[in-house]
Symmetry: C2
Subunit: 564 residues, 2 copies
């Protein structure tokens, strides 16, 4: 009854920081040795971070990858580790896994399936591998794979696995989060385990990298496809698990690379309880907190500044920023104008007070009047229009950036996905900042998350008055968002159909929306690509985010056909 004890190291590398990534991997190897693991798995490209983009075209970066793997060898004495790294061979680069065994490099595997859709550009960088790597360790026959290799059901990798007849499949992964993705992964791996009658170990990256956040949740399945162990979401972890298979030693098979390893420890590992799996809102909440914390920290910032309008978007952003960075590291700024109601001013102050934030008040009217006086000869003295509305937003953006420049605070913008989609936002105004935390969160979900924040706090951190008020930009008297936009529940359903599901005008109308409303909404999305192109990065939490996930030309006259 050969047993195999394995440790899945769910790490959070910093892009390109080889020294700190290696130090972390050494700590994990040491802990795995203490836990008497025979096999340690690190995620895809764990050595450098994922995705390195054009850093993969730098000889120095590739050299550093190679060096990191070489430097890690001594730390693998007495065990076996599979480590994701970028491997250069001549003019070709591979998305590879090094197999380090007892202090030496025993072999490597090159990823065969390279994803080149959505947020992925792997065919820009990597040459595909051509054959599976089969390993034998302590009486276990293993197939080593990397991420996408298993995402092509009945593809060449799966076929090779079935043909080889292995006891277990190992998968090193860097699978970005979106809400609901975990369940896709779980089903995919379960299905493979059942088809191959093999155990499966899946180790995923954790942490934020620009627009992407990785949720971890590494998993171990037994050969009947039962989920045997799972690591936590959005936290680093070393998940130790153990497999036992019936039968004794097998006759040697030259297709398998034999690795040296101690036998499994005498006492079997007790079954551990799995961490609770978060619900939909909880996982999105954790994604936003993690993505923000990592963007701030990995870019060398400590503190962040947020314009508090008294509305729900900025209140949610501030509440989540406090969770990510600590209340002492978040500064609120309220920038009232003549159009700010007493109620929203009070709410901005209340949000700051509830969250325990320092609040800076910078009234904008003197600046606004100075602007309009200078502009009057050019613009004429007619009614204030969109130029004047945007001016107020840009004054606020400039004030926040002045604080950022002076104190080194990162500006967090507060725009949600609904307004980003239809361009209900001001370039260089409320869009000015380093990171757009809730950029991929539709307005209706903003409210749900605000509810969750209050629920978790056990009190109304985000005041009820904020949640109940009709959304308003307060850039002219008595303005509300619904002067210009359809009600958000309606808008968000249309946007989801268009952006996330790729439906066209006709298909959306068929769901019961008014054709003119759909046409106008889609037109606004199409027309505002130029704004989004200059937006700060934000965290992808849906299946299709703006940014690297959805790449449209700015110059684009294609419009859905008139008839619907």
């Amino acid at each position: 009854m050969p047993r195999l004890r394995l440790a899945l190291a769910q790490t959070n590398p910093v892009m390109g920081d080889f020294a700190s990534n290696l130090a972390e991997m050494r700590r994990r190897l040491s802990a795995a040795r203490q836990a008497r693991a025979q096999l340690v798995l690190f995620p895809e490209l764990a050595v450098c971070g994922y995705p390195p983009e054009d850093l993969l075209q730098s000889a120095g970066f590739l050299q550093a990858n190679q060096q990191a793997v070489a430097d890690l060898r001594p730390d693998t004495r007495g065990l076996c580790a599979c480590v994701g790294y970028a491997r250069r061979a001549g003019s070709q680069v591979f998305n590879a896994a090094a197999v380090l065994n007892d202090g030496r490099l025993a072999g490597h595997y090159d990823k065969i399936e390279l994803p080149n859709y959505g947020v992925f550009d792997e065919k820009r960088y990597f040459h595909p591998g051509s054959r599976l790597l089969l390993l034998e360790l302590s009486g276990w026959r293993l197939a080593l794979t990397i991420c996408e290799d298993l995402w092509v059901p009945q593809g060449p990798v799966e076929q090779a696995i079935l043909k080889a007849g292995v006891d277990a499949v190992l998968n090193l992964s860097a699978s970005p989060f979106h809400a609901g993705k975990f369940e896709l992964r779980r089903r995919l791996l379960q299905r493979l385990a059942r088809r191959a009658r093999a155990a499966v170990a899946y180790v995923n990256l954790v942490g934020g990298q620009d627009e992407l956040v990785f949720d971890g949740r590494s998993m171990v399945f037994d050969s009947r496809g039962r989920l045997q162990a799972r690591a936590p979401h959005f936290a680093e972890a070393l998940l130790v698990s153990e497999w036992t298979r019936p039968g004794g030693p097998r006759r040697p098979d030259r297709r398998f690379l034999r690795l040296a390893g101690p036998a499994a420890p005498l006492t079997p590992l007790p079954r551990s309880t799995q961490p609770p799996n978060p619900g939909r809102l909880e996982e999105i909440h954790a994604a936003l907190v993690t993505g923000t914390r990592d963007y701030v920290r990995k870019n060398g910032f400590k503190q962040a500044v947020i314009g508090l309008s008294g509305g729900v978007d900025s209140a949610l952003t501030a509440a989540l920023a406090v969770e990510a960075l600590g209340r002492g590291n978040v500064i609120g700024v309220t920038m009232p104008s003549a159009y700010s109601s007493r109620a929203t001013r009070a709410d901005a102050a209340r949000v700051a007070k509830n969250l325990g934030l320092r609040l800076i008040t910078l009234p904008i009217m003197t600046i606004y009047r100075a602007f309009t006086a200078v502009l009057r000869p050019a613009l004429g003295s007619g009614q204030p229009g969109v130029a004047h509305e945007n001016l107020q937003a840009r004054i606020r953006g400039s004030l926040l950036m002045a604080l950022s420049n002076h104190f080194g605070w990162l500006v967090l913008t507060t725009g949600n996905k609904s307004e980003t989609a239809v361009g209900y936002c001001t370039l260089y105004g409320d869009m000015a900042g380093g990171f757009a935390m809730i950029k991929d969160v539709p307005k209706t979900l903003v409210y749900e998350l605000a509810g969750l924040v209050n629920l978790r706090a056990g009190r109304d951190l985000i005041p009820r008055s904020v949640l109940k008020r009709a959304p308003t930009a307060e850039l002219r008297p008595n303005q509300t968002d619904q002067d210009t936009l359809p009600p958000y529940p309606l808008l968000d359903r249309m946007l989801k159909a268009y952006i996330e599901e790729g439906r066209d005008l006709r298909q959306i109308v068929r769901r019961g929306f008014k054709p003119s409303l759909v046409r106008e909404t889609l037109r606004r999305v199409d027309d505002n690509e130029y704004k989004r192109r200059q937006a700060p990065p934000g965290i992808k939490i849906t299946p299709k985010a703006f940014g690297r996930d959805r790449r449209l030309p700015i110059t684009n006259r294609f419009r859905p056909p008139r008839s619907a």
Copy 2:
């Protein structure tokens, strides 16, 4: 002696505007018929524009491609046309060429080699074709190819061409411009003609699409590799040319798709003179003018507004904008501060006068004082620092955007590649605007182009005082760029080595630069990725531009090794 008269239609499609693209193609077909051409070639994806990016994932967009090709059939009576379009077959999309012959669709070719590097992402969208399309028309045996197919010397397409034994190779192309690219293309095609002992017809797109500009310069080679005809650079054209080959009719060969076509007209085409080939500066000049004109026009703008500082960057931008749009469509704005010298103010006015521009003066000091008064309690009353410098730039950006919002003018920013590279520019300040014309033009080249502008005008449109003054941002007293940056000739050589040539610290130092200077320069480039990510698009004119051509993570701690 079979003769073949062919017409290369060098068109400038508007992305997704199928109706206008088709109308233009019909005009070209009609002109080709008048010129008694038997074969008409249109560029790669001529029907929709290049590159459509994620529009290729829209069913409606693909449907419109298919429809456009179908609609074009009647216009091909009595001749043969090869037309680039996106072809959908089941779930696969191909970068294809339709062969329209005498009013019907005779066949199609699917591009085999899909570029997925630099500015290209074709593997994200297209499935590769698998075999060459061979045609026979009026006694000529032809191989039809698309762009990249010929850019893999001794690759599978070239081998198939050599094996087939054809009289001529046709290539539909969408090859983006950078300075010097034409010569690469010319040599590549000449080499192919000689190896295959075949004539070559190469038709290229012309015009701007976001960051890319296409220079046209379609070419016809005879079977000895001699350039026989060339279309102009950066202008639409129909290039009519004629091939004659020795020998009579051949026995039928079933590998070749036989097309119906009239014999060549009785009178051979007289040899035409080729348009003069522009020098390096001239072609860059034309690229900037064309790219700007097309961005403005294709996005529905008529007029552009430019902040005139009295410096060379804004003077050049204004001069080129006048060439692109006409002087009546360019508005200059001067926004003096307390740090603006009398000399630069005078120069801003002189540039506007020389170019015949309307000039609006918007002094910023009252606004600046209003800002500093509001900020003083938060920032304290210490010496003005970078926050105050950026504030001035942001006030100017907000003023230009107010004019843009009010009048519908597109803001052209004036930042060059050198300052964009090292971050010597202000987000939401001088970087605020819709299009960054000279974003890929290094500062030293800005001066060269300014010289060319004056030379072409026959007078100092850009005043000598502007060209002679030490560059300055004028954001604090007596500031010059060289307080902070190395002299531009030095800086630009380092930047070229790092960005365009991909050299690392060590290699650049070996060229004779001071290690500390190189290290500091490279660090500045790396640290300012976040600024560039929010920059407006601009025209690629070098082999490696910022933007879609160079994709680096913002979160990135990889730095060149300390020792050099």
